[in-house]
């Protein structure tokens, strides 16, 4: 999966090869290794995004929620490996939903942490350069883009994500939403995530309660446009 590779490369997602297990019973003499994923460190302290996002939310979100996606993805992967080795096709198919959910949770949160930055370190500073131009061209202005993402995030039913995506083929920016932990790639193989905002209730509930629009309004003060610009430039140049 191209995107998986890209995100692993650009984000330094903790993929680690676990002791190469020789494939048994297949007779091809080929060995495979499981690449387990790890919880990445945050590039800032839990309290660094206050008052926009509280330290308590950041800590639970990172240590509990993201960790659970990592653990469950690794477990599902082991089960998948076993099912593949046994040729248990129905088990392989059954595992897909857990892999999509937990693998997606890991991908999405790894991007999300990079999308945030303390205000005093430049979080919230608007994009300049190529991405700044592209935002103006595709959405008329940054304000229009923010309004659009806030509106789509607020309207999203249930749990999910709202994304600023780059369509690699047309080189156009788009706003997309995905349900639950579906990563952006489920909307199209061409889409590269520049910016993802978590609109699961666990991302804001302790602080903002039922007022999701306030969370969405405030989060722009800690958005790391520099990161989004780098991803954009890597893809477009």
């Amino acid at each position: 999966m191209a995107l998986g590779f890209l995100t692993a490369k650009t984000l330094g997602l903790g993929f680690r090869a676990r002791g190469a297990a020789p494939a048994l019973g297949l007779g091809f003499g080929q060995s495979r290794s499981l690449h387990t994923v790890e919880l990445p460190d945050l590039p800032y302290d839990y309290a660094a995004l206050e008052p926009t996002i509280s330290a308590e939310i950041m800590q639970l979100h990172h240590q509990k929620h993201h960790q659970a996606y990592v653990n469950n993805y690794n477990t599902a992967q082991e089960q998948l490996e076993e099912a593949l080795n046994k040729g248990d096709v129905s088990k392989v198919v059954h595992l897909q939903s857990a892999i999509k959910f937990n693998g997606g949770g890991h991908i999405n949160h790894s991007i999300f942490w990079q999308n945030l930055k303390p205000s005093k370190e430049g979080g919230g500073d608007p994009p300049h350069g190529a991405l700044g131009w592209a935002v103006d061209q595709d959405f008329r202005s940054l304000e229009v883009l923010i309004q659009k993402m806030n509106a789509e995030g607020a309207a999203l039913q249930g749990s999910g994500w709202v994304w600023l995506a780059l369509d690699k083929e047309s080189k156009k920016l788009r706003v997309e939403t995905t349900a639950n932990q579906d990563p952006l790639v489920t909307k199209g193989a061409n889409f590269v995530p520049l910016l993802g905002i978590d609109v699961w209730e666990h991302a804001y509930y302790l602080q903002y309660k039922n007022v999701k629009p306030d969370y969405l309004k405030n989060i722009w003060t800690v958005i790391n446009w520099k990161y989004a610009s780098q991803v954009y430039e890597n893809e477009v140049v």
Binding site: K64, F101, Q157, G158, G160, N180, E201, H202, N210
Partner: protein
């Protein structure tokens, strides 16, 4: 459209046109359950000679005090969940219906029609969430938990093997829900048996023509202030301390008027 009388009668918060069920005729003692009040906001506006009266959905009050489910569900959680989340759905629905051709439908019709065979219309989420929350409040009780009894217990044992199997399946299903949604105990109308079902976001079993018996809200707002990421403890406390088997019994008695469960007889009241 043909709406099921069984579920129609279960639907709280409906319009004045909806028949009220004489519960006492079942000979059940309903004393511990305050039936929900359905306050209705009436707006009358006069145009010319004719007075047009518009009835809206009201926010149904949970049948207990907001601190009554503590320590398993805090007053703060219920204040937000009922007075904010539930109310927002009621108010948004009323706003949507104001100039809608769907005005005048019963709640059950509204849910089924707006579900639109899986391509929900804009009103669906609010309509279903109003109904789901009403149903959820009545699925809990301050003196809840314990064991089901009588005919309901026999039916659970028949369909799940044992109460403990049912509990395991309910827990397992709730823990396996990806994202926001609900887990239900339902009576499957065609198969004539109880089953556990999980649904995403606002979807409820009514849209599949099944009869809901119990509901547990698994949106994070239902438990996050009290349990944070520990969904498992929330589910376990619901089953062990909050679930209202009395409501479940009343609901399956009603359902039995439309689904012949054969032996064992329900209720043994």
């Amino acid at each position: 459209m043909a709406s099921s009388p069984a579920t129609l009668l279960l639907s709280p918060g409906g319009r004045a046109s909806q028949p009220s069920l004489p519960l006492a005729s079942h000979g059940l003692r309903l004393a511990p359950l305050n039936l929900p009040r359905t306050p209705k906001k009436m707006e009358s506006c006069c145009s010319g000679n004719s007075a047009k009266v518009i009835a809206y959905y009201g926010l149904t009050t949970p049948p207990y005090e907001l601190n009554a489910l503590e320590p398993y569900m805090s007053k703060r959680t219920l204040e937000l969940h009922w007075e904010r989340h539930h109310r927002e759905h009621v108010e948004s629905l009323n706003k949507q219906l104001r100039n809608s051709s769907l005005y005048g439908y019963t709640m059950l019709e509204l849910i089924k029609v707006t579900y639109n065979n899986g391509n929900p219309l804009p009103e669906f989420n609010n309509a279903a969430e109003v109904w789901n929350h009403d149903f959820f409040w009545e699925s809990m009780h301050p003196d809840g938990g314990k064991l089901p009894w009588g005919g309901l217990l026999q039916q659970i044992e028949k369909d799940f093997g044992s109460y403990s199997n049912f509990k395991d399946e309910f827990m397992h299903s709730a823990l396996g829900l990806f994202g926001s949604g609900w887990v239900w105990l339902i009576l499957k109308r065609e198969e004539k048996r109880l089953a556990v079902m999980k649904t995403s976001n606002a979807i409820c079993p009514l849209v599949f023509d099944d009869i809901p018996i119990l509901a547990l809200d698994l949106w994070e707002h239902a438990y996050y202030l009290d349990y944070k990421d520990d969904r498992e403890t929330y589910i376990r406390n619901f089953i062990n301390h909050l679930v209202c088997w009395h409501s479940a019994t009343v609901r399956i008695v009603r359902a039995e008027a439309f689904v012949n469960l054969g032996e064992p007889k329900i209720p043994v009241a």
